[in-house]
């Protein structure tokens, strides 16, 4: 057993490069999903019923697609429409599209609980358009939604593991390649799980910081 972990440790560089890709995928993916999700939430809160209902339909449809299927479609399906991504970009695109729907729904929930008083005050002080959203509406929504957004980021981290099936060299892919070369499955996968766990703890810790900051403002 110790020998097996020794083998994994000897290939730590492979795990490390897998971890870097996982962090990049989850980090960039979550950030872009949050930005896109903000636009989705704005559409879900829009006055126009056509915009609201059509985006709501898209969001509901997206949430019913298994993530693995979406990754397959982006990587194997889109080229037949003439859209070609490399593995990493395809994986990232799948994460962003999939999670934008969730982020949009999360932000809409927090938004609908935001008292209209703050927006009203902002309007009366001359805020409008993008500045109104950026300065007055979004900050309290983001703070209120931080714990749920954090959960979603943890979900994203775990979902990146699926991307090994489209050959994205992320952490699970790295662990899998070590175990298949040296036949050390237990040690290789335990090492990967430990790293996933550390990543998620880091996210939890970040969320707690935001929650504490939000607590002071309640």
């Amino acid at each position: 057993m110790i020998r097996e972990f020794g083998i994994v440790l000897a290939h730590a560089d492979k795990l490390a490069s897998g971890l870097v890709n996982t962090v990049l995928l989850a980090g960039i993916g979550s950030a872009l999903a949050l930005v896109l999700g903000t636009l989705v939430a704005m559409a879900l809160m829009a006055r126009s019923p056509i915009l609201r209902l059509s985006v709501q339909w898209l969001v509901d449809a997206m949430r019913c697609v298994p993530f693995l299927m979406l990754a397959y479609i982006v990587y194997y399906g889109l080229p037949s429409l003439g859209i070609n991504f490399d593995n990493f970009t395809a994986g990232l695109a799948a994460i962003v599209i999939y999670n934008a729907a969730y982020m949009g729904e999360i932000l809409r929930g927090a938004w609908s609980r935001l008292p209209p008083d703050y927006t009203q005050a902002a309007l009366s002080f001359g805020f409008h358009g993008f500045t109104l959203y950026r300065r007055i509406i979004l900050p309290p929504i983001m703070m209120a939604a931080a714990p749920v957004i954090g959960n979603q980021v943890i979900q994203v981290i775990k979902d990146t593991a699926f991307l090994m099936i489209i050959a994205v060299p992320e952490l699970t892919h790295a662990a899998s390649s070590i175990q298949s070369t040296y036949y050390v499955p237990f040690a290789a996968f335990c090492a990967a799980i430990l790293l996933y766990w550390l990543l998620c703890m880091l996210v939890e810790w970040g969320v707690r910081l935001i929650e504490n900051a939000a607590e002071g403002r309640r």
Partner: protein
């Protein structure tokens, strides 16, 4: 300063000068009506507020006072009538017909400070942050200059030590004093107060009224919806009673409280001042 005769200038030029002709009211409300469905909330209301004047709007709940106030900065759109701020039409372009764009309306609103019944301070910003938010991000003024002015305003309302606190940590009276300072920070032509003391515990009303009285004495132009008869009596230049969407009586405070002309005013005063 422009040396030409002010009579030869367009109203557009006049409003951007520091000196506004004495006879031009800061706020002129002309024939405003508004209904929600079949319910007529405002019925042909006209009034004006001259520079430096404090006008108090009194009336029982549901008489349309707050709706009228919200029409002034177009948070509510009246069905009929016109509103002018320093001679410039609010909500409509030029002589009317075409609605202002969102940015034109925002620029207009940015010249009117508003103090809300429930304070409506932005919870994610500190006290100082609340004061400098609109001057920095709407008026695009330099942050250092705005911050210095905001600190001076906090001194004036006695809250400089709360500068870096979040609104959630303040008492109701303190929140409302921040609300007033926030409205002053945009250097408004006109201040609107929407029942500023109605949500406060009785023992906290005094500190807010005291700040408002000082503003009135210093010549701030204010339109105040209130139930504080003491404030109206002492600080107002004119008192207006509204009931069921109509102006019942408009008079100087001595006349209004001393010898009102209308029977409805006497009834109102008996009920509200008698109880207070």
């Amino acid at each position: 300063m422009n040396e030409s005769n002010p009579m030869h200038q367009t109203p557009q030029e006049l409003i951007h000068q520091d000196v506004i002709p004495q006879d031009l009211p800061v706020l002129r409300i002309h024939g405003i009506s508004k209904s929600y469905g079949a319910h007529l909330v405002l019925d042909d209301i006209s009034l004006q507020v001259m520079k430096g004047q404090t006008v108090c709007l009194l009336g029982p709940s549901g008489s349309g006072k707050s709706t009228l106030l919200r029409c002034v900065n177009w948070l509510e759109k009246p069905d009929h009538g016109q509103i002018y701020l320093n001679g410039q039409r609010v909500g409509m372009r030029g002589s009317g017909g075409i609605a202002m764009s969102a940015s034109e309306l925002a620029a207009m609103r940015g010249r009117i400070g508003m103090v809300f019944q429930h304070f409506n301070l932005w919870p994610h910003l500190t006290v100082l942050g609340n004061l400098i938010e609109a001057p920095v991000h709407v008026q695009k003024r330099p942050r250092a200059e705005v911050t210095a002015e905001a600190e001076a305003l906090l001194e004036r309302v006695g809250l400089i030590d709360k500068r870096d606190d979040y609104p959630a940590k303040l008492s109701g009276g303190q929140k409302q004093r921040v609300g007033i300072a926030r409205a002053l920070a945009i250097k408004p032509d006109l201040l609107l107060f929407d029942e500023p003391t109605s949500a406060l515990d009785p023992e906290l009303v005094g500190e807010v009224v005291a700040v408002m009285k000082v503003l009135a004495q210093q010549g701030m132009t204010m339109l105040v919806v209130t139930h504080e008869m003491g404030f109206a009596r002492e600080a107002a230049d004119e008192v207006i009673l509204m009931d069921r969407g109509k102006v019942v009586e408009k008079a100087a405070p001595e006349v209004f409280f001393g010898a009102p002309k209308m029977e409805r005013t006497r009834q109102f005063l008996q009920r509200y001042v008698g109880a207070a």
